[in-house]
């Protein structure tokens, strides 16, 4: 198959434009994070007049970024562990058992994914406030409330992905384990989980990204002491005097772990994320 030169040029132009479009914000983020303050307050420059790493040190003082960081980390890690654990059990049931209501269950769980968050936000806020009032369990303004909320956000997709991974593991493995006398749980933990490990890690990254980047519920369900990065960083930008170099430095630090994790595991994630679209 030979290509005409028109196609070759179209390819070069299109890919170059898309690369520029993709890279520009990334470049601005990184280059502004190593600029001194007067550089980001005046007209934009492509190259910093001099390189400084002060923003990466100062950013922790301007707003309580450290606290936001710890909050985000606790919330995202707990939500990830919980949702992956639940998704493993549910995915196992969905993949290996044909129980009554299985189809309905999956449809309901997956369709919650398409509903607008604003629909749950007001009632959930009200329910949390009233649970506090009647039982004394503080969910509103606490990390616990946020963890419970976030674990359900990642759950539908995680269940679906994990069930999909389990489906690709031949049942002969299960049966061999049964013959050796392993019960269903033993089979899950010592046969299926080791084989599905890459898939589980990919799902964990997905769950972590979901919780790490959530904004809407964090903006309502947290208070000063439990605020997460998603809301904290916006506060930064809403101040009268914005230290954009520090905001960009903070953005670099916040983004780096997720982007690296995503890219390192993109093979598994991409497979899972697109499997559904291709299958249906």
């Amino acid at each position: 198959m030979r290509e005409s030169s028109a196609v070759r040029w179209a390819r070069r132009v299109v890919l170059t434009l898309l690369t520029v479009f993709t890279v520009l914000p990334l470049y601005v983020m990184v280059v502004s994070s190593i600029k001194p303050l007067q550089d980001v307050q005046g007209a934009f420059t492509w190259i910093p007049t001099h390189v400084t790493f002060r923003p990466f040190i100062d950013m922790w003082q301007t707003v309580p970024l450290g606290r936001y960081f710890v909050n985000s980390l606790i919330v995202a890690l707990c939500a990830t562990v919980c949702s992956v654990t639940i998704a493993i059990f549910t995915g196992y049931a969905v993949s290996r058992y044909r129980f009554a209501g299985r189809g309905t269950f999956m449809t309901v769980v997956l369709s919650t994914q398409m509903f607008p968050g604003i629909l749950f936000l007001l009632p959930l806020f009200l329910i949390f406030v009233n649970i506090d009032r009647y039982t004394g369990i503080t969910l509103y303004g606490s990390r616990l409330g946020l963890i419970i909320t976030y674990l359900t956000f990642a759950l539908p997709f995680s269940i679906w992905l994990i069930a999909g991974y389990f489906d690709t593991i031949p049942r002969e493995l299960d049966e061999a384990a049964r013959v050796d006398g392993a019960g269903p749980m033993r089979t899950l933990f010592s046969v299926l989980l080791p084989v599905a490990a890459p898939g589980i890690v990919a799902v964990a990254i997905y769950a972590f990204m979901t919780a790490w980047g959530e904004v809407l519920f964090a903006s309502v369900l947290t208070d000063q002491s439990t605020r997460t990065l998603a809301v904290g960083l916006r506060e930064y930008a809403n101040q009268a005097q914005v230290y954009w170099n520090e905001v960009m430095a903070a953005s670099v630090v916040i983004s780096l772990p997720v982007v690296v994790g995503f890219l390192a595991l993109q093979k598994f994630l991409v497979h899972g994320l697109t499997a559904g679209a291709v299958k249906s």
């Binding site: 198959m1 028109a6 196609v7 390819r11 299109v14 690369t19 993709t22 890279v23 914000p25 990334l26 601005v28 983020m29 980001v40 007209a43 934009f44 639940i86 059990f89 549910t90 049931a93 058992y97 129980f99 398409m114 509903f115 607008p116 968050g117 604003i118 629909l119 749950f120 936000l121 007001l122 009632p123 009200l126 329910i127 009032r133 359900t152 759950l155 980047g213 904004v215 309502v220 990065l229 998603a230 960083l233 930008a237 905001v247 960009m248 953005s251 916040i254 983004s255 997720v258 982007v259 995503f262 890219l263 993109q266 991409v270 994320l273 697109t274 559904g276 679209a277 291709v278 249906s280």
Partner: protein
């Protein structure tokens, strides 16, 4: 299926008495899947299903700031909230309708843009060449970036005097005169669309790339031998084969953009009228006036709209594939 066949073939022993006896020996076997599903079910019920029903109930109440801590005492208002929300002569209904149209416009442009960019990248990266892997990875970065860091960077780029956008457009390329505002007034609409496309097109690219991998290579060979050029191959081979992928992809892009709250929330202190997307409109309407009843009514209307569009879209797709 195979069970029924053996049972009716005659050779197999009658099955009916076997079932219950087995079950008595292994009661855990049939309950186990339900036990495994219970945690997920409780979580989904608690955070999604129950709040949704509560929300529908709230929309029928005069639930103002006086009743937040004691909402069961809020007086029943019937459909009053809905009447206020859809009354386009009143200020509330007028703003809601405006926000709805803005959201539709943003969504149409973003879905079209993200899909086109994704398709272009997927098609042009189909054939192996040096640097293809690097580009594929690079194109995924906007999708991997936490949404709030991405949008806050754009917010910096769209600053009037210190932003990169005005610097490039006005000072370097001289395409526009002076330094326009991007985050106030009419331009905020364009800013919103650009940022949404930047964030979403990698997902379209990802999905379409996976879809293209299932297209057999010899189909292209055959088309090329028949003398089909690049555009012809795209139109008669690639696009028809991508149809099932597109059906899901377009729906997902639509729902994500239409429901999006994050981009306008982080981009603006207070979204200007031209960037007042529906989710943040309901959010502000609810939390500024603390009229949760009215906010819930708007949310229910939003859900109804999304359901009608989604079901209509899926139904139309099914009808078309049946006739094809």
């Amino acid at each position: 299926m195979s069970d029924t066949i053996t049972a009716t073939s005659g050779d197999a022993p009658p099955r009916a008495p076997r079932g219950p006896r087995r079950r008595r020996f292994k009661p855990g076997r049939n309950l186990l899947p339900y036990a495994l599903v219970v945690p997920a079910l409780i979580a989904e019920l608690a955070i999604h299903i129950v709040p949704m029903l509560v929300g529908a109930w709230m929309s029928l109440l005069h639930l103002t700031q006086f009743f937040i801590r004691n909402w069961t005492a809020a007086p029943y208002g019937g459909l009053t909230n809905y009447r206020i929300a859809v009354d386009t002569n009143g200020p509330v209904g007028k703003d809601l309708l405006h926000s709805f149209f803005i959201t539709v416009a943003v969504t149409v442009l973003v879905v079209a843009g993200a899909w086109l960019f994704g398709l272009a990248a997927a098609v042009f990266l189909q054939k192996p060449f040096r640097g293809r892997g690097t580009l594929r990875t690079l194109f995924l970065v906007p999708y991997a970036l936490p949404v709030f860091t991405a949008v806050i960077t754009w917010r910096f780029m769209f600053q009037r005097d210190s932003g990169m956008v005005n610097n490039v457009l006005s000072d370097e390329l001289h395409l526009v005169h002076g330094h326009p505002f991007w985050l106030l007034g009419g331009n905020s609409f364009a800013a919103l669309v650009i940022i949404h496309i930047w964030r979403l097109w990698p997902f379209a690219f990802l999905t379409l790339t996976a879809g293209l991998q299932s297209v057999p290579g010899d189909l292209y060979e055959a088309a090329a031998i028949d003398g089909a050029g690049f555009v012809r191959r795209l139109r008669s081979v690639t696009l028809p084969l991508l149809r099932p992928v597109n059906r899901v992809l377009l729906l997902v892009l639509f729902l994500w953009t239409f429901n999006d709250f994050n981009v306008p929330y982080i981009l603006f202190d207070q979204p200007p009228a031209n960037a007042d997307m529906i989710s943040i409109h309901i959010y502000n309407a609810s939390f500024i006036t603390w009229n949760f009843g009215l906010g819930s009514a708007m949310s229910v209307l939003l859900l109804a709209f999304l359901l009608i569009v989604t079901l209509g879209y899926l139904g139309a797709g099914r009808l078309r594939s049946r006739h094809a």
